[in-house]
């Protein structure tokens, strides 16, 4: 009992500390000062009267949303003796692997700098700044010479690093025994099996209505859809973040999605946020980073060629360039196993914030949000909550290593013949599904299906659904896959996912497969 109480007070102290620096705190203070004029606030019971006022005026709800949001994001306070690296990643060998992976990326960037003799960061001359400002909304029309820039790494390289991840204390004898993993990932992390997944994803069950299934044209809307939309509007009217997260597990109606996501991620469009975005924009204009060219090249190669996303090319540049300069993202490194790279400015230590990540993660969001500053905030929040786990090596249940292991375990347990066959022909299933998971399926699924999938990521606060979907896709195409005889043929069978419907696949795999 003592332990739980002290844990609770520790958590409360941590959240209070975090919220003190936020916008909400300043607003609450202002409100409290303003309400002192009101007649019902008496001096003897100042505290209680102000609390009552907050409850009535809706500010308590905002505070509740903020606290709930913090609880979902930040890990629980750990043992007092644990060093900060332990909070980022408890397993020592994973920390080491992440460190050497980062060093590799840094070396690559540094060598690119010296080869092309381009500085990593420099202040732009005034003429160039003016030019960029005038072209801010149409950066896509610019065609600088980027042929010399190579991508820093591809998903394949990252997969190789994950495959070679080994626990030195793990008995992995040379001979095949019950200990060897048949898949590519060789670390024994704890992953959920189907009974546990069924319990975790209980709202996706056969008896619960889903958007993505029960809103198709054959089903009359009175059965589910109308009621669901009505509840969604009520949740938005109440502005309750926790209720929104529960609601979105059954999918979000298209009209309400933008507001629901903003509510769950606790993003409000205050003038301060727009100002923050403008400040970042100024930073982009004043300083030129090497990473900008890499981002530019990446976007040109991927999103501009995509049938759905090419319209958002300019938005993507605006968001990503600002993101690479946002120092508030540094806060998430406390629970990310990665570390930001450092560099020296004039002999003093400075921090360069960068993340070499995959732009298509931004593109689907462009369908939802039109103002750059709100789009930017949503993207940033989704990155620091979920997507960063897809690019760093950690033992977190939503980390990419656990997702890969979950995928392989599900396939091995429930489709053993398929798994064995693919392994025999040299087409390890993870080699095909890795690129889907590391991009959270963006660029592979149709946009409306992708948004339904991301609804569930928000609702369950976990990326495990990506691994389940990957296994479900393999299960769906199992018959064709059993007939292929090479990796290339297997990839061809699974090349086009744009016609797939996500929710029926998930439901069948989790709840309707006879095991």
């Amino acid at each position: 009992m003592l332990q739980e109480e002290s844990d609770l007070s520790l958590i409360i102290a941590q959240i209070v500390q975090k919220l003190k620096g936020s916008n909400l705190y300043a607003q609450l203070e202002r409100q409290a000062w303003a309400c002192l004029q009101r007649p019902e606030i008496k001096l003897e019971s100042l505290k209680e009267d102000i609390k009552e006022f907050f409850k009535i005026s809706g500010w308590e709800k905002k505070l509740q949303n903020a606290v709930y949001s913090e609880l979902s994001v930040f890990p629980l306070p750990s043992h007092p003796a644990a060093p900060p690296e332990h909070l980022k990643e408890p397993l020592v060998y994973m920390r080491k692997a992440q460190g050497s992976w980062e060093k590799r990326i840094l070396k690559s960037l540094n060598s690119m700098c010296t080869e092309l003799s381009i500085p990593l960061a420099r202040k732009r001359p005034v003429g160039e700044q003016k030019e960029l400002l005038s072209k801010w909304n149409e950066m896509g029309t610019d065609e600088p010479d980027l042929s010399l820039f190579r991508p820093v790494y591809a998903p394949k390289d990252f997969l190789e690093v994950l495959i070679n991840l080994r626990n030195p204390n793990y008995e992995n004898g040379d001979s095949l025994s019950f200990r060897t993993h048949l898949g590519l990932i060789q670390v024994p992390l704890k992953v959920k099996d189907i009974p546990e997944l069924k319990e975790f994803f209980v709202e996706l069950g056969l008896t619960t209505g889903q958007l993505g299934i029960d809103d198709s044209t054959q089903v009359p809307p009175e059965l589910f859809e109308n009621e669901h939309v009505r509840i969604g509007q009520k949740v938005l009217a109440e502005q309750d973040g926790a209720a929104a997260q529960q609601y979105i597990r059954q999918g979000s109606p298209t009209a309400l999605r933008a507001d629901l996501w903003a509510l769950i991620l606790n993003i409000s469009s205050q003038p301060e946020d727009i100002l923050y975005y403008e400040q970042l924009k100024t930073n982009v204009i004043q300083h030129d980073l090497l990473v900008d060219s890499l981002i530019y090249k990446d976007v040109k190669l991927t999103a501009s060629n995509d049938d759905y996303y090419f319209v958002f090319e300019d938005y993507l540049y605006q968001v990503l360039l600002c993101f690479s300069r946002d120092t508030s993202v540094l806060g998430h490194f406390a629970y990310n196993s990665a570390s930001p790279p450092k560099s020296y400015i004039r002999g003093k230590l400075g921090l360069e914030e960068y993340a070499v990540f995959y732009p298509p993660n931004v593109a689907p969001l462009c369908f939802l949000y039109h103002e750059p500053s709100k789009l930017y905030q949503i993207f940033r929040e989704m990155y620091v909550r979920f997507f960063f786990r897809l690019h760093s090596i950690s033992s977190h249940p939503s980390g990419i290593v656990s997702l890969c292991l979950l995928f392989e375990t599900l396939l091995q347990t429930y489709l053993p013949q398929l798994f064995y066959h693919l392994r025999e022909i040299g087409a390890q299933p993870l080699r095909i599904s890795f690129k889907w998971m590391v991009r959270a399926f963006s660029g592979y699924l149709a946009t409306d299906q992708l948004l339904l999938l991301w609804d569930r990521i928000l609702g369950y606060n976990s990326l495990e659904i990506l691994a389940v979907l990957a296994a479900a896709v393999f299960a769906f195409r199992a018959v064709n896959l059993m007939e292929v005889t090479s990796l290339a043929a297997a990839e061809a069978v699974l090349a086009d996912l744009s016609t797939l419907k996500v929710m029926p696949l998930l439901q069948i795999f989790l709840f309707a497969t006879v095991t």
Partner: protein, 213 residues
């Protein structure tokens, strides 16, 4: 609750295994670590802290100092405490753990020696142990003060002087002022740790190379 570290001597681990260690194939699943306190008199144990390394279950036995005539006996104070919920996977494998006095089965008043019995039933791991073992005892209590007489035996209060017309009641005013003072103290004591958000040094952000350290 202050605590003071007790210097301890951790003896080498002893593996318990049936049969000859050299010839049998499997690895031991039980290890015993003895902890003695050579330079300290029997003390009251407050907390045991360590870093786990792939140990699944922990039992602790303690030998306490009893009356001078009876020999000290070994008593189990913690039985099969679970450190890894699934011994075959990595969960909890490298965590920091604290065990407190109130979690123990018996009184820890006069500890002479401790014996930690580690168990790891899974054959997947090459070795297992606990690291960075630290034992804490109760810290010194704050020195007792003698209160001045007027604080410990307050004089019964006399009849308050009659209120002057037009002025507010002094006891009410003092309670309100007290509340406000408490609030201002709280605000003054709190500070925030939010970053300001600038990343350039003196307006300069010219970087040439990233560093590897």
């Amino acid at each position: 609750m202050s605590r003071v570290s007790v210097p301890c001597h951790v003896k080498g681990t002893v593996a318990l295994q049936v049969g000859d260690v050299r010839t049998s194939q499997g690895r031991p699943g039980v290890l015993v670590i003895d902890v003695t306190f050579p330079s300290v008199a029997p003390f009251e144990l407050q907390e045991i802290m360590f870093k786990n390394y792939y140990t699944a279950f922990l039992s602790i036995r303690v030998r306490q100092h009893s009356s001078p005539h009876t020999p000290a006996k070994w008593v189990t104070c913690l039985r099969d405490y679970c450190l890894m919920p699934d011994p075959h996977s990595e969960e909890g494998a490298q965590e920091y753990v604290s065990l407190f006095k109130h979690q123990m089965l018996c009184d820890m008043a006069r500890v002479l020696e401790l014996r930690l019995i580690l168990r790891q039933p899974s054959p997947l791991w090459v070795s297992f142990t606990v690291e960075e073992l630290q034992i804490y005892q109760q810290g010194p209590k704050s020195p007792s003060m003698t209160f001045p007489k007027w604080l410990s035996h307050p004089v019964p209060c006399e009849q308050p002087p009659p209120l002057i017309e037009g002025l507010p009641d002094p006891s009410r005013v003092s309670s309100e002022v007290q509340q406000m003072w408490a609030l201002t103290e709280m605000i003054r004591a709190s500070h925030t740790s939010t970053r300001i958000g600038r990343f350039d040094v003196d307006g300069c952000y010219d970087l040439n190379l990233l560093s590897y350290t």
